[in-house]
């Protein structure tokens, strides 16, 4: 405002040459939020557990010892033992792999299916949109966990089917998110410009519309991993997910409910793991939203 001289356009401004892409900008602003970084560290910690689980765990998932049943935490068993004398720490560490796999895989599945449906609905509109959107509406009319239970009941209880069920119930969330994003982006002038250049639909969709609609999907995806882990735990708790002796955290909670008073550690540690993972993903998701949402102001 204080400048009296008009700026002459076209003259290269004095600026340190730094290539800043939109993703790099987002990372820079993500890094500024301490809470988000904390969330990311928690997530990284559990990812490490999941990857290195078999190496780190002191015992196997089903090493029973009838002399060591329901032992409180000690130097031998840091998190105590359960009713079959299995080391809870080992089972929690192995459980990280199961929970994270279910979380990631189900969300990736639903993002892929949801993206395709959402893009088709949003870009082509008319009756295609009508059909796809009504299917989403119908699916969203069910309470999600009820729908998951119904799907698992049809497919048969197993971890894989729980994963599929969780993926299916999340599809409409992503589908609607992407559809609405595509609806707004396809009216942008750079899409008209792409058409004017003579670009084909497929290229417009995948090179212009998809990358520009990804930001909210990443945020929603991170948050959905947390819910997916919770849902997997819930299905496990109901006996519709992991089958024994798989050390799924929700299943561990269910198995220990009889010992809540006499041996609370059997419940506390798996529960704490679920809580921490979900918290980590939620904090990271919130940070990502702040970093990606206010689109590149500069």
């Amino acid at each position: 405002m204080s400048e009296l001289m008009p700026k002459v356009d076209g003259i290269a401004e004095v600026e340190i040459e730094k290539t800043t892409g939109p993703w790099r900008d987002a990372w820079r602003s993500f890094r500024k939020s301490k809470i988000a970084v904390a969330g990311m560290l928690i997530v990284l910690f559990f990812v490490l557990l999941a990857v290195l689980g078999p190496v780190l765990a002191p015992e196997g998932i089903n090493d029973q010892s009838h002399t060591d049943r329901l032992q409180p935490p000690s130097s031998a068993h840091w998190m105590g033992t359960d009713d079959l004398g299995r080391d809870i720490l080992s089972r929690v560490i192995h459980g990280a792999r199961i929970s994270l796999t279910v979380g990631f895989a189900s969300v990736v599945l639903s993002v892929i299916v949801g993206s395709v449906l959402g893009i088709v609905a949003g870009y082509y509109g008319r009756w295609v949109d009508m059909i796809i959107s009504r299917i989403f509406d119908i699916m969203l009319a069910f309470p999600s966990i009820l729908l998951a239970i119904a799907i698992v009941a049809v497919l048969g209880p197993s971890l894989k089917n729980a994963l599929i069920a969780i993926a299916i119930i999340n599809v409409p969330n992503f589908g609607r998110l992407i559809r609405s994003k595509v609806l707004s982006i396809k009216e942008e002038e750079y899409i008209t410009a792409a058409k004017a250049i003579g670009m084909k639909d497929a290229r417009i969709l995948f090179s212009h519309i998809l990358p520009n609609s990804m930001a909210p999907v990443i945020v929603q995806g991170t948050l959905a991993i947390a819910t997916a882990i919770l849902e997997a735990a819930a299905l496990g708790f109901l006996g519709l997910g992991a089958t024994p002796p798989q050390p799924e955290w929700g299943k561990m909670l269910a198995d220990s409910k009889d010992y809540l008073q006499s041996a609370p550690w059997t419940m506390i540690f798996p529960g704490l793991s679920i809580m921490l993972t979900v918290l980590g993903f939620n904090l990271m998701g919130d940070g990502l939203r702040d970093a990606l949402d206010p689109k590149m102001k500069s």
Binding site: G10, A12, E189, A193, A194, I197
Partner: protein
């Protein structure tokens, strides 16, 4: 200026249906572009002016076939574009490019400048990877930027610079015709002149033909060889730039021109203020579309739509005032303005 038309538009119409009710019953049509005909010679600049909502941008989109016309023909370089399939049309797009109004919205924020400029070449399969990179650098310099800008992203540029990038993108495929839809209206006045001068220089250098859509009469005067004035979806007057500005024939053009500010404090403002609003294009007035606001309205104007006829050499106007049957003297009209 070669004397063969590069673009020939005949009876171009675009009606948008107005849908009502749950079943999408068509209740009427918005006549966004209603029977527009004109020609553009190779190497010239045709300006199209009119107030907002008169259909000038829709005309631009129709010429690009971004919208398909309801009726009429568009002949480009001897080919009828309205009958081409989408695939054939894609090939023609090499020769017709567009510069957009909003330089902030017309560049994909996630693509680097290099990628934005390269894309037309990739789409049309022109040049190898290395040649493309060279061409990107070359055209950045052509539009007055530097080759090191290629790595940057759109948000790192000012509006004027972005518009230069938009122009560079339009030039990448060596087009014959460039349709500029209000290319400077989003820019500061100081930068408008720079961009206009750039466009004029490029026209000479690359032998371009421009269709320049704008609402700013002084901008259009600066750049155009011929100017067409649109009102309510119709072309009401078209003439050589000088003739139109010296001696506007249509009452609407006269009113528009009188609204252009004159940089002279002693100039006595004799603005013709037209009454009322632009009529609803879904329900246009009968006869001449301008008769509801025209100070010279006659009986015939409400009944018969005047056709666009050449009344002077190179000066066509659609107005009953100049029709012999009406018996009006043109001199008399000039005296009153």
């Amino acid at each position: 200026m070669a004397e063969n038309p590069l673009l020939k538009v005949e009876g171009l119409k675009k009606y948008f249906p107005i849908k009502k009710g749950p079943l999408g019953r068509v209740a009427g049509h918005v006549k966004a572009v209603d029977d527009v005909s004109f020609q553009v010679m190779e190497g010239e600049t045709l300006g199209i002016v009119g107030e907002s909502g008169c259909g000038k941008s829709t005309t631009g989109k129709l010429l690009m076939r971004l919208l398909s016309p309801t009726d009429g023909t568009i002949e480009f370089d001897g080919k009828d574009m309205t009958s081409l399939t989408n695939d054939e049309m894609r090939k023609v797009r090499r020769d017709i490019q567009m510069v957009f109004q909003d330089p902030y919205a017309s560049l994909n924020p996630r693509h680097s400048i290099a990628k934005i400029l390269e894309e037309p070449l990739i789409v049309h399969g022109i040049a190898s990877r290395k040649e493309r990179k060279e061409k990107v650098k070359e055209f950045l310099e052509v539009v007055g930027l530097s080759s090191y800008h290629a790595k940057r992203f759109p948000h790192q540029f000012s509006g004027g610079q972005r518009q230069r990038i938009g122009i560079a993108r339009a030039l990448m495929t060596n087009p014959k015709l460039i349709i500029a839809d209000e290319p400077v209206s989003a820019l500061d006045v100081s930068i408008q002149a720079q961009v206009l001068n750039l466009m004029q220089d490029l026209q000479k250098e690359f032998k371009l033909t421009y269709i320049f859509i704008a609402h700013d009469l002084s901008v259009v005067r600066h750049i155009s060889d011929r100017v067409g004035v649109m009102y309510l979806g119709k072309l009401v007057e078209i003439a050589d730039s000088e003739k139109l500005y010296e001696e506007p024939l249509h009452p609407y053009t006269q009113a528009l021109l009188s609204a252009v500010p004159i940089p002279d404090p002693h100039y006595k403002n004799e603005q013709i203020i037209i009454q009322g609003d632009i009529p609803n294009p879904a329900d246009p007035p009968s006869g001449c579309p301008f008769h509801t606001r025209c100070p010279f309205k006659m009986e015939i104007c409400t009944k018969v739509t005047p056709s666009l006829d050449e009344k002077r050499s190179g000066h066509s106007v659609a107005c009953h005032l100049y029709n012999d049957q009406a018996g009006n003297d043109i001199k008399q009209l000039e005296g009153s303005v």
